[in-house]
């Protein structure tokens, strides 16, 4: 592994020099595939963010099991950068990895509109029976091609600060807290109103209006597209409910008025500027990382008002790969129940495999999170998975969702009222979707 960067560098150097001398035709033209020197096969994996596969030691184990395989991962931090690059590369077939990770927000487009650039896993007799039905369905095209295998899912709960709850005179026990808003986002907002009046002055109820919107809308089957595949966010019940709930948070001045995942927002996480935040499994690690020692022991984890899923990814094999068979074997192994369980116990990414949850019940149920007051997250996530609807996904889910979050933030920061913000949002999204 140590030598890898250096060999890459020398190749770059050669390329650069050649370009200088205009001998460009002599340059190698493809980045994909990797070499197979002496029976060694290099499989390249492209992921975004902290995907966790490498961190959990799964590559290492696979390479030990398979002497002839070398796995090289490249990670792009932000999915929007990663996906834009992937898109520009796919039609040309150059610069692609053997294996490419795909976020749930992009899986529809990859499966249905870009399917021809990916390997149909049916051709390799891959068993997809162990995945949750809705997860498998998302990576299956209308004509039955299977282009991706699920890695993790994002069953949502709510993280909350026990110290602030106590100050506001609210219960702090996680079961009692869950009871406060069980079954109703309205109750969650109502609790927020109470918190705003009784809680500490400089602490908000929730991190961001976009976060509230996301959490609510992901509990509905129909969000941005209807079953017929048409854009329907303007009429869908999910969007309308989620918008209203989020607007109540806005009107009640309950948020820190930021967009999620911006540096400013991260600072408010670090400083504990809010009392609750929607928490899919991957958010736990995020909070622990950001808040550090200052927040240790102050956070706890309760059930969300309604079950929903936020995030989760897939692994695909590109047609451009020169080692399709080996790559398919690798992703099959990486997403197999045993490995999914390991990904959960080591990295906290919750399995997308039903079998993994069923087979390793004890192992999963026993997982607790010491940063969150030893919350039994294995048990809680397993409960949270129940009742997650089969989301209808569409090609431009991400654009629509970002547009709606932007609109809510505008209402929050620029004093637009709900209708103005909605109109502006619709114009913006329609403009983005328009041909």
């Amino acid at each position: 592994m140590r030598t890898t960067p250096r060999t890459r560098m020398t190749r770059r150097a050669a390329v650069g020099t050649a370009a200088m001398m205009l001998a460009v035709t002599a340059c190698s033209s493809s980045d994909s595939g990797g070499g197979d020197d002496g029976g060694q096969i290099t499989l390249t994996v492209g992921v975004f963010g902290q995907f966790g596969l490498e961190e959990a030691g799964l590559y290492e184990e696979y390479m030990e099991l398979n002497d002839n395989i070398v796995i090289e991962q490249t990670s792009v931090q932000e999915n929007s950068d990663y996906y834009a690059a992937l898109l520009t590369r796919l039609p040309t077939g150059s610069g692609l990895m053997d294996i490419q990770a795909v976020e749930v927000g992009n899986i529809y487009e990859v499966t249905n509109e870009l399917g021809q650039y990916f390997v149909d896993l049916n051709d390799y007799d891959v068993d997809t029976g162990h995945f949750m039905d809705w997860k498998a369905a998302q990576a299956t095209s209308e004509d039955g091609r299977v282009v991706g295998l699920g890695t993790d899912t994002g069953p949502m709960g709510l993280c909350y600060r026990t110290d602030y709850f106590e100050e506001a005179g609210l219960p702090t026990d996680r079961e009692e807290v869950s009871e406060l808003w069980a079954g109703s986002w309205e109750d969650y907002i109502a609790t927020g109103e109470q918190f705003m009046s009784d809680g500490p002055d400089d602490v908000k109820w929730v991190d961001s209006p976009g976060g509230v919107f996301n959490a609510v809308v992901n509990g509905y089957e129909e969000r941005f597209y209807n079953a017929a595949g048409e854009v329907s966010y303007k009429e869908s019940q999910g969007v309308s409910d989620a918008w209203d709930i989020a607007m109540r948070a806005v009107d009640g001045e309950m948020t820190t008025k930021q967009a999620q995942f911006t540096p400013d927002w991260e600072r408010s996480v670090a400083n504990g500027d809010f009392a609750t935040i929607s928490c899919p499994p991957w958010m736990l690690g995020y909070i622990a990382d950001k808040s550090g020692d200052a927040g240790k022991g102050l956070w706890d984890y309760a059930a969300a008002p309604q079950p929903g899923n936020w995030g989760g990814s897939f692994l695909t094999v590109t047609e451009a790969s020169q080692h399709k068979e080996e790559a398919v074997k690798l992703i099959e192994w990486l997403t197999a129940p045993e490995q999914q369980v390991r990904l959960f116990t080591e990295r906290g990414s919750f399995p997308s495999s039903e079998e993994a949850i069923a087979n390793s019940e004890d192992e999963i149920q026993g997982v607790t999170h010491d940063y969150f007051a030893d919350a039994p997250i294995g048990e809680l996530f397993t409960q949270a998975v129940d009742g997650i609807p089969t989301l209808i996904v569409g090609p431009r889910d991400q654009v629509i969702q970002e547009g709606l979050a932007n609109g809510l933030l505008a209402a929050d920061t620029q004093g637009l009222d709900g209708d103005e913000a909605w109109d502006a949002t619709v114009r913006s999204i329609d403009n983005a979707l328009d041909d």
């Binding site: 898109l87 930021q258 932007n406 620029q414 114009r427 403009n431 041909d435």
Partner: protein
């Protein structure tokens, strides 16, 4: 060589070359040698200018002209990023729709206001600084080098730092404002505040550079102009106004144009300021370059992105023409003034 040129280029060159006789004399050899040389010479003078400009135009053709024309062509089609080879004719649709595209006009207006906010204070400060640096002083070079260092900082690095300094709740600038009793400003979400914040990044990076340019021009102003102005009893301020400024007019115009072109193409600062191509949640500071980027790389609509790019080009041509006209006018008026003196 001059004589060579006149007498050794007979029009008979193309005619039958003298067959080398077996008893060829040294004279004849010399003649042939000269003739060959003159032919080479003429070819050399004729062809070499083209040879010298050829590399430029070769690369320009491949990487400048071709994309320019192709973008124009793509702008007339429906093309998507996922499949750029597949084009569907759309006529002028992508252009006409810009006319009613509020986001385009918004981006145009933002480009304009940020351009003004970034250029005017920048050049005014540069002018003032150049004037000060023109004084006799200690540490001249120190000041000059320090003023230029922001220029060496990349847009990306500068914007990252400024984005943190401009943080709403934990940024240093709001913290300092708070010290003097000013309420925190939402530098990311407020329209004017965000545009000012982005302008300061541009100003910070370019003021020093322009200062040096002005300083160079100031040092080229003939000293006797000042002397005669001083004799007429003009104060230093009057001298600056009536001697320095008029002499600097062409330079000022030039920096204005360069800054304008830069402002029209402004992209990196607003993109990295909050890390999103939408330029704020209501596109408060989305510039044309950013809108094009969002359209092409976030919405995957290459046809529309190309149309935006072309309208930027047309805009710059207009600016260029205006520059040309004004500079002609200035040379004429300056020249007139000079000769009348």
């Amino acid at each position: 060589m001059t004589t060579d040129r006149t007498n050794a280029a007979p029009p008979a060159e193309g005619g039958a070359a003298p067959r080398p006789a077996p008893d060829a004399t040294a004279d004849e050899k010399e003649l042939r040698r000269r003739r060959r040389r003159s032919w080479r010479y003429r070819m050399d003078t004729k062809a070499s200018p083209y040879g010298f400009v050829a590399p430029f135009f070769l690369f320009f053709g491949a990487f400048g002209l071709f994309p320019l024309l192709f973008t124009g062509w793509a702008a007339l089609h429906r093309v998507r990023l996922q499949n750029p080879g597949e084009m569907e004719w759309a006529g002028l649709h992508n252009f006409t729709r810009l006319l009613s595209d509020e986001f385009f006009w918004n981006a145009l207006a933002n480009t304009f206001t940020i351009g003004i906010l970034a250029t005017v204070p920048q050049l005014a400060m540069a002018l003032g600084l150049a004037h000060l640096l023109n004084y006799k002083m200690r540490g001249q070079n120190f000041f000059r080098v320090v003023m230029l260092t922001p220029y060496a900082t990349s847009v990306a690095a500068a914007t990252l730092v400024f984005a943190i300094l401009y943080g709403r709740d934990y940024g240093m600038i709001n913290w300092a404002l708070d010290l003097v009793g000013i309420n925190p400003v939402d530098w990311k979400n407020n329209t004017w505040a965000s545009q000012i914040a982005i302008s300061t990044i541009v100003i910070w990076r370019w003021t020093g550079y322009n200062t040096l340019i002005y300083l160079a021009a100031m040092q080229a102003v003939p000293r006797d102009l000042y002397e005669s102005a001083a004799l007429d009893g003009a104060s230093p301020w009057k001298q600056f106004l009536h001697v320095t400024l008029p002499s600097l007019r062409p330079t000022i115009l030039f920096t204005v144009v360069v800054s304008t072109i830069g402002a029209t193409q402004l992209f990196g600062e607003p993109l990295l300021f909050a890390g999103s191509p939408s330029g704020g949640n209501q596109n408060q500071y989305q510039t044309l370059g950013l809108y094009m980027y969002e359209m092409g790389w976030m919405n995957f609509n290459l046809g529309r992105a190309s149309a935006i790019a072309w309208s930027m080009f047309l805009l710059l041509i207009l600016i260029g023409l205006a520059y040309w006209a004004v500079s002609k006018w200035i040379t004429r008026s300056t020249g007139g003034r000079r000769s009348s003196r």
